[in-house]
């Protein structure tokens, strides 16, 4: 049976479209109003609210909790002080990416890990004799993201702690009488926060947020707007931009952290005091330079795009949500060069942009490639260039408070 999130009673009232998708067994709005781009603009211009409760949440505690996580996560949890959070990947023993998530460190021995897929069994299987408690607390909490340039103003009216919070910091705070975890995290590439809230008080907290945001143009946003935001922010999505190594059928479907554009997470990999899962394979990959791919942005030459369509007698299509399909990339000679994993028409950049995987030799910014498109039921190609990620990266996202 399809489930609903703790915020659903209120958010469903605000949804004028009745359009939902399913997210890990929960009803999740595609959009709340007639077009996702206005929800997108709320985040880039004022403030938007996104219900991210379907994420799985695991409490990991006990004297050896840090040790367990240090051995599993790609980023070094030992460097994460209480009150901070890390966005990290985890890999299999062959150094292929399984999943990503955010780990919040509440104290020396107490962590909360969010994940897109169930992970309790996997965590448990690596526990061995470590003194660690593992608990699936997914249903105990709702998480609501409050994102956009006005998010700080709105939340600080409710919780003064907001003002002092740096990027990827979190703290215990109150919204009304409800104790919440307030974190400066999100998936939009903008200034933003998330509130992790006890499920039975979720609606009251949401109401307080909506009320505080009323005069700031606050509005909820759905998955379609989120896709636009996260692609501009260069943030990959599991099962869209990569396949979980655990469920992939072939190595061609798998990626390493480097191949996924997350090489920056590997800082400190030569530190032998932290043998995390996949480390040996990843070190080999780095030493041998054997990465098969690099992840880059691509930007479509819009004039060529328009010409292709116009010459075919068509109106150039510029939907923010082109049909999902994996477009192939070719180099100037027409040889295969890679593929596009996410694609959209960015309303701010006013260009088609995408996340792509290309052979490392072609990763340099500005490399001219061609992307497969279908025009009038025929395959052709449009000129694109590789670009650095993220496409959109406002200073306010990480600015010190």
């Amino acid at each position: 049976m399809i489930r609903t999130t703790p915020f659903h009673p209120r958010l469903s009232e605000l949804n004028s479209q009745g359009l939902y998708t399913h997210w890990q067994g929960f009803l999740s709005p595609l959009r709340y109003t007639t077009a996702p781009k206005h929800e997108y603009f709320a985040v880039r211009n004022s403030v938007g609210v996104f219900d991210t409760s379907p994420l799985f949440k695991y409490r990991i505690s006990g004297p050896d909790a840090e040790q367990l996580l240090a051995g599993l996560l790609v980023r070094d949890i030992r460097s994460c002080r209480p009150g901070r959070a890390l966005y990290t990947l985890w890999c299999d023993d062959r150094g292929f990416v399984m999943e990503d998530g955010v780990v919040f460190r509440h104290s020396a021995n107490d962590f909360l890990l969010t994940a897109a897929r169930p992970n309790l069994g996997w965590l448990d299987s690596h526990r061995g004799r470590l003194r660690v408690e593992l608990e699936d607390v997914s249903d105990d909490y709702g998480i609501v993201a409050i994102q956009g340039p006005r998010s700080r103003t709105v939340l600080s009216a409710l919780s003064p702690e907001t003002d002092g919070l740096g990027y990827f910091q979190h703290t215990q705070a109150k919204v009304g009488s409800t104790a919440v975890t307030l974190s400066r995290t999100g998936y939009t590439g903008d200034l933003g926060y998330e509130l992790t809230v006890p499920a039975d008080e979720a609606v009251a907290v949401l109401d307080a947020v909506l009320e505080a945001g009323r005069d700031h143009g606050i509005r909820p946003f759905g998955e379609e707007a989120l896709m636009m935001l996260r692609i501009e922010a260069g943030l990959p999505l599991i099962d869209v931009d990569w396949t979980n190594s655990r469920t992939a059928w072939t190595d061609a479907q798998r990626v390493t952290p480097t191949e996924l554009g997350m090489g920056w997470m590997l800082r400190g990999i030569d530190d032998d005091t932290r043998p995390f899962l996949g480390r040996q394979a990843i070190r080999r990959e780095l030493a041998e330079g054997s990465s098969r791919w690099a992840t880059v942005g691509i930007v479509v030459d819009w004039q060529h795009w328009d010409r292709l369509h116009r010459d075919a007698g068509l109106l150039p299509s510029k939907s923010e949500h082109p049909p999902p399909y994996e477009q192939m990339l070719y180099d100037a000679e027409g040889a295969p060069a890679g593929f596009v994993t996410s694609f959209l028409y960015s309303p701010v950049l006013q260009r088609h942009v995408g996340l792509a995987r290309v052979t490392p030799a072609l990763a340099e910014t500005g490399t001219e490639l061609r992307m497969e498109v279908v025009v009038n039921h025929r395959n052709t190609t449009v000129d694109v260039r590789t670009a650095p990620l993220p496409f959109f990266n406002p200073a306010r996202k990480t600015a010190k408070p």
């Binding site: 211009n45 700031h216 143009g217 109106l315 028409y345 701010v348 006013q350």
Partner: protein
């Protein structure tokens, strides 16, 4: 005289002057922008008249801006942020309304609610109009070919035009001509029967022009306002973050980032010439600045009749410019509001305030508003294109408060038997009374009211007779003929002197093409050695 300090001087810091300067600077020219006022932007400015309340004094919405400018000038890096309008709202005058959004099928249902007969017409209408736009659009992105020239270089462009036009389907070409020459009312009557539905679609057919929707020529105005491809969606409109002044600030930052220098409070009185060449400009305070390239971003009257001595120009050109019609008929009445107005049929939502509020219920209503203008007076019940920008952009007003921009017609530049200083507030009252009709209680919300008359427009921007497009959108004043036959390719009879204002092709609106296309002309001439760029000599297009 001293050696040139600059390669190029751009006179006027409106959006076209800034665009032009940015391209010239990007190509390596030492470029100076001279702006008369204390701020750049010209007709596209935002002013904080009351603490916390940002008024778009003149222009207020964005659509036609050519996408290549965003990319070529790297505007996103400098803060470009167009906020697409989620809705447009059209009270039908009987207490009901049309509320249109982005979902085509829901719009069809909204039309059907009023007129089942018009529901499928809505589809046909938009498809036909899109095809016309497709056919005409390439003309916007290229300088008009000089059909009068015998130069082989010009022939290439003429051939391109002929080839393009011959590729347009017969039926579409007929629609193009119907729109370019006919009235919006005739065109719309071919599709719709419901007066409110027709009124909604006629709304953009009279903007800035001394025409009513029943006048021939209003079709052209309607079409022009559909030419935007903002966000890739034909005819869609946005508010720029911080108003249109927010946009010109972005442009100024981009121009400066490419190395252009912007000097404020520097009114130019004359373009200096030696023989047949431009050599610089003189400022009001007597300063003379030298440059081999001078670009006027002002309107044709000022470019040809004020900045230079018209006696030195070909008589035919001077005649054309003198004959050019300006005849501004538009005014603004801007409000600071204590809260949102209430439309009685939609008491509990703000959805209808996301974009344009179009107060001109039927074609007849707007045509009657036009009547007065023919005889030198303003409308008793004017047509209003309103927008409460603070609904979409909270930075425009303090929390809970709002700013409302009202573009009001008709307000003829020349009043018979009175003047605008005497009529200013009475005219403001007329506009406010119309708002009161549709939003009862409106008056109690008003914290501040600003009335901007056509004379104010002229005085503050330099747009002759307050014409918002720097020359009316009439067929004989467009394309090859803008601003004058034979002078539609951004040059002037004076070597080194160029024009890039809205009086050149394709015309007014916040569009940027005049500035961009003129820069291409300048840079081509530099590359060909026809004019000198002294400092670098490396400029290329």
């Amino acid at each position: 005289m001293s050696a040139p300090q600059y390669d190029a001087i751009v006179v006027g810091g409106g959006h076209n002057g800034l665009t032009n300067a940015a391209y010239l600077a990007k190509a390596g020219l030492r470029t100076l922008v001279l702006e008369r006022r204390h701020l750049v932007g010209g007709a596209a400015i935002t002013e904080e008249l009351l603490p916390g309340f940002s008024f778009t004094t003149f222009s207020y919405a964005l659509s036609l801006l050519r996408p290549e400018i965003i990319q070529e000038l790297d505007l996103v890096r400098h803060g470009f942020l167009p906020l697409m309008m989620p809705s447009s709202f059209h009270p039908t005058g009987d207490g009901d309304y049309l509320l249109m959004g982005d979902d085509h099928a829901q719009n069809v249902q909204e039309v059907r609610r009023h007129s089942p007969r018009d529901a499928d017409a809505y589809d046909r209408y938009h498809h036909d109009l899109d095809r016309v736009v497709q056919a005409v659009r390439p003309l916007l992105d290229n300088a008009p070919p000089d059909v009068f020239s015998t130069d082989p270089e010009d022939r290439v462009d003429v051939d391109w035009l002929v080839k393009h036009l011959s590729g347009v389907e017969r039926r579409v070409m007929h629609d193009v001509v119907r729109l370019l020459t006919g009235s919006a009312a005739d065109w719309l009557e071919d599709y719709f029967v419901h007066e409110g539905v027709k009124g909604y679609h006629a709304s953009s057919s009279v903007i800035g022009s001394k025409v009513g929707p029943m006048s021939p020529g209003s079709g052209l105005v309607l079409l022009f306002h559909k030419m935007g491809e903002h966000d890739g969606h034909l005819g869609s409109w946005a508010f720029h973050k911080g108003g249109n002044g927010g946009f010109t600030q972005v442009l100024a930052r981009a121009a400066e980032a490419f190395g252009a220098e912007i000097r404020l409070e520097a009114p130019v009185t004359a373009v200096l010439t030696e023989g047949e060449r431009a050599v610089g400009v003189a400022l009001e305070d007597g300063t003379e600045l030298r440059a081999p390239i001078v670009v006027s971003a002002l309107d044709p009257r000022r470019t040809f009749l004020e900045l230079v001595d018209p006696r030195g120009l070909p008589g035919e050109l001077v005649d054309s410019v003198e004959r050019m019609k300006f005849r501004g008929v538009s005014a603004k009445v801007n409000f600071a509001l204590d809260g949102l107005p209430v439309f009685p049929a939609l008491p509990d939502t703000v959805e209808h305030y996301g974009g344009f509020l179009n107060i001109g219920p039927t074609i007849e209503y707007v045509e009657r508003a036009f009547d007065a203008a023919k005889y030198g007076w303003y409308s008793d019940r004017p047509y209003i294109d309103a927008a409460i920008q603070s609904v979409v952009d909270p930075d425009m007003a303090p929390p809970g408060k709002h700013v409302m921009s009202c573009f009001v017609q008709y307000a003829p530049y020349e009043l018979r038997g009175s003047d605008w200083e005497s009529e200013r507030e009475r005219f403001g009252d007329r506009a406010q009374a119309v708002l009161e009709e549709h939003f009862p209680g409106f008056g109690e919300l008003v914290l501040h009211r600003e009335v901007v008359t056509p004379v104010d427009i002229e005085q503050h921007t330099g747009l002759t007779e307050g014409n918002i497009f720097a020359g009316e959108f009439l067929a004989p004043q467009m394309y090859f003929f803008r601003p004058a036959p034979g002078w539609s390719r951004y040059a002037t009879p004076i070597q080194g002197y160029y024009q890039c204002g809205s009086g050149t092709h394709p015309g007014g609106c916040v569009i940027g093409s005049p500035g961009r296309l003129a820069s291409r002309r300048v840079l081509n001439d530099v590359a060909a050695g026809r004019v000198g760029a002294h400092s670098t000599g490396t400029a290329s297009s």
